[in-house]
Symmetry: C2
Subunit: 334 residues, 2 copies
């Protein structure tokens, strides 16, 4: 059965059938119903899938997301899913907890789902060659790269912002407003995650501005989650440290901090200024609006797919792309 | 090659290999590395997938999400992904825009990905039998059911809250606090979506409380998105209607409304009380904390997977499950 047969049986033109099957918006409901009735009756399988049936490989691209409830990843994932589909592949999504092993998850998925390529959305920055030896398909690190590990740069691709520099800029904004006692809210200063890189940018800025690192101003909490940030800041505030500003390593964590500060009777930005990195939509609706360095989420997602597809299709070699951040002024800076 | 061979080559026990391959947390990093090195070297494919290669069908369960950037769906999707994986199936995710045709998307996906079953996460409530004739696998509507359509109840499954009753309760909370001029914020009073059901619950409550429907108090905006809600409320406030409370049909829309109210100089809840339905995490960190009727997101996701898997595996017939909401008191009610 061909799309000509469908057109004949449905009493519509071949181009209408094509538009329906390609989910084109410009087609009437009546035509859609006629075509889909024929498709259903004859259990028609589009050519791409019919070819698929005879192949021993798949058209699967795996995406491993670390902590999908993080709204920052959700936005990027929406773009990744859309672009994988548009490029003619199938996204196989695996969500893992923020402390799970993404390499193990990916290695098993690679075999079970016969992947052609992989995108890691979030992950550790300290992979060794040995750890990655179980991955046999091209992979792209999205939102991070392997700066603490030993991978060859030409053995994988990445797309991310310059996290160290973004943290530096965040602290610089606070310093330029006269702040000298700047706390940092993070999930760990040496956990091999993006938290560690942003902490390094924070300390680099402190040194450059002659402020020096005060360990009493490090608020280290259990995860990147909003609730853990809230609980952690609430507990830390009881220690009554001397500070006038907080640099939060993520919007989500900053949102948790804002509630803890408010409950402790601290006014933002009058008593405590606040800046973060990420730029998720929800933080734009906080009261006050969060000041933050926005990551280009659409570009991070579309670039990750482009990188992996170009390599799968033999058009390119591994690359490392760094994208810029933009300041959302917000209301948590003076 | 069997897992016995892997155990021998890696120099670990068979049960260790099994734990590694099943991603069991209770296994040392050293053992993991040894096992994965052997797996990689011999390109070992676990039994489940080896069987898969010879089959003409797949283990795919399709999930069609309407508007994945909605944080309410993200939380449910996380649970759905986890439960599908645990039940031994593969989730194939398709995201569609909030005005796209989910039936068309599902019908094509069913054929292209050879689905065994389908979950619709969000969708229209007015499907006809004819429209659904192109779907040949069991499907579950998650967070809604077909109350305005003509489907046989025993031809599909659903899991949702009682949306009409939740809206009624929301209005009741406002009425019990003395509000008589209660506006409603929705995406359309007759759009065949959950917005229409919640609007029906709103008007039912108004009638029961002798308030009557005032068309000037209907704030109808372009989508379920936070920005459209913000823009819509901002525009509506310029009309200077007489009102003391808003029932927003979703948390996300309420968050947009809060910013518009704040910018218009209205204090919440002193000038305007506010209540919503959904209970997403972010709204708990708003200032003030949003009062809302929380949907049981974990149960909605896990029940949807249970329903579709039970039918795929022949253990059950189609069912319709209604789950309760719980009030988060918050700070936007007096």
């Amino acid at each position: 059965m061909t799309i000509k047969d469908i057109a004949r049986l449905a009493g519509v033109s071949v181009s209408t059938v094509s538009r329906v099957l390609n989910n084109h918006p410009d087609v009437s409901d009546t035509a859609k119903e006629k075509v889909m009735a024929v498709v259903a009756e004859h259990n028609y399988i589009p050519n791409t899938s019919a070819r698929e049936l005879g192949k021993s490989t798949s058209d699967n691209i795996g995406v491993v997301v670390r902590g999908m409830s993080n709204p920052f990843y959700t936005n990027i994932l929406t773009v990744i899913g859309d672009r994988i589909e548009k490029a003619g592949y199938t996204m196989v999504l695996q969500q893992i907890g923020s402390s799970d092993d993404e390499i193990m998850a990916a290695a098993l998925m690679e075999r079970e789902k016969r992947l052609l390529g992989l995108i890691f959305l979030g992950g550790k920055l300290d992979y060794t060659k040995k750890q990655l030896s179980s991955i046999n398909v091209p992979f792209v690190c999205c939102t991070f790269w392997n700066q603490y590990g030993t991978l060859d740069k030409n053995s994988y691709s990445s797309v991310s912002i310059d996290d160290n520099q973004a943290a530096y800029k965040a602290v610089e904004h606070l310093y330029n407003q006269g702040h000298k006692k700047i706390a940092v809210l993070l999930s760990g200063p040496d956990d091999g995650s993006v938290s560690q890189v942003r902490f390094a940018g924070y300390t680099r800025a402190l040194n450059d501005f002659g402020l020096g690192l005060d360990k009493n101003l490090i608020i280290s909490v259990n995860s990147f989650g909003i609730k853990d940030a809230y609980d952690g800041v609430k507990k830390w505030l009881k220690k009554d440290r001397d500070f006038t500003a907080i640099f939060a390593i993520s919007d989500n964590m900053a949102m948790g901090a804002m509630k803890a500060l408010r409950e402790a009777g601290k006014s933002i930005p009058k008593d405590v200024a606040l800046i973060a990195i990420d730029g998720i939509e929800a933080s734009e609706y906080m009261n006050p609006v969060l000041s933050t360095l926005c990551q280009p989420m659409d570009e991070l997602g579309s670039e990750a797919v482009k990188l992996v597809v170009d390599i799968i299709e033999g058009r390119d070699e591994h690359k490392h792309v760094i994208l810029p951040t933009t300041l959302r002024k917000g209301e948590t800076l003076k």
